[in-house]
Each structure stands twice: as C-alpha cells, then as structure tokens.
Amino acid sequence: MAKIQRIRPPEEIPDSAMADVAFLLLIFFIATTTIAEEFGLSLILPAPSTSQTSMQVNRDNVMIISSDESGSVILVDEQAVNLSQIRPMFRERYAGNDKLVVSVEPHPNAPYRVMVDVLDELKMAKAPRISLKTRR
C-alpha cells in the first residue's frame, strides 16, 4: 500500500509585512512628534537702582503709557487711546526725538495682560528704550 505523505506547511514566521509595519509606525511618529516651542517678549532689566546707577531723564524725552485699575483704559501721557494707536503714536514721536524713552506704568491692580499688550505694541514698533515701572 502506498504511503500517504502529508504536506507540512513551512515552519517560518512570515516577515514580509515587517517593512510595512515599520513604515506605518515611522509615519505615525513623524506625524505626531511635536517640538515644544516657547515664545516670549524679551527684555533686559536694569540692575537694582542705586544713587550711582539711576539717572535723570528729561521729561520731554519720556512717553508714559499707563492704565486704569481695570486695564480697559490705556493712557498715553494722560490721554486715553486705543491699543492700536500706540504704535503710530510712538513712531511719530520717535521720529521727532530719537532719545525717547517709553515708560510702561500699569495700575498696580490692572491685569498683567495690559503690560504685555503694550509691550507687544512697542516691540512691534521697534522701541529701543522701554522702561517698566515696578512696585518699588
């Protein structure tokens, strides 16, 4: 009697799809990787003031930007303005006086964003001398 020979499947792990899986994972990681970035308005602060380091500035060379307690009213030299007016106002005054110093003086209770909004406008206007009035 003839022997029946069983055909056994080859004992191999199929690896033909491995490259596809690798590509799939690669695309996933490329797509989902986010590089954490941080943006900020940079400012070099003055060293703590002493009688030697502090200097007097002519009042005509100072542009004071202040705000009310709620931060809804912004004043440039005591004149109420919109935030969008700060940039052209600074440019106009700076064109006539290149020694101009801008002093940002928000009300102590005004929200922090008021200072950032004003500083943002001044940075966009490329103001070279900005002073922040702090508590002391």
Partner: protein, 136 residues
Amino acid sequence: MARVKRTLGVENKVPTSSMADIAFLLLIFFLATTIFKLEEGLKIVLPRAEAGVRVPRNKVAHIWIASPALMTIDDNKIVMMDIPPILQAKLSDDPRLIVGLNIHKDVPWEIASEAIEMMKEALALNASFTTDPESR
C-alpha cells in the same frame, strides 16, 4: 566570424532591499528621541502677543504665577521671597540664564512687578515674558 554579443550584468533597477532597514533605523531614532513630556504645571492662560520671539528652552528658568498665592519655579512651589536665592543658584550654574515669566493674564500687575523686582535683586536681568503666539 560570429558576432560576440556583449551583455552587461547590471540590471536597471533601484535596489530597494535596504529600504526596510532604513525605515527601522528611522523608527528606532524616533522611538528613542520622542519624549512624552507631561508638564505638571499650574493652570495658566498666557497673554497673547504677536511680537514674541522663540526662546531656547534649555537656557530658561521658568517662573509660573497662577495667582498671587500660587507660584512655582521649575515645578517647585515657592513664595515670592524664595525667588532671589533660587535664581542666584541657577545663575551661578549658567550666567546666561533667561528667566521665563509664565504669568496668568489676569494676575494683578502688582504681583508681576514684585516678581520682576525679585529677579533684579538676584541680578537675573534677562527676562522673557512668555506669551501665546497670536498669528503663527
């Protein structure tokens, strides 16, 4: 005389056998370099600004102020008076340290200005007011 036909043994094919290896190599690179960083931070809404510039994160000490009573430096809860000694220690490690101020947009300016005064006291004068980029 019989003509000798020259056959070139080179086929016009782009070798693709190493593609899977390259894919694996890139995959391993992304797997190794991807960091799922969970920031345990305070709940802060940053003020928006257009003029914000990219800040190198590795040179920044982060001060977070969520409210007058809740602030941290690099994930350690602190009070205002702790700022100068911590910054002085960080400055001695890296004199080019930038202090990133992550302050909630509605925190009173008085608190923010006090933090700035503390930075001055530590002679950490390179400040960056972290903002949310508006038109990027």
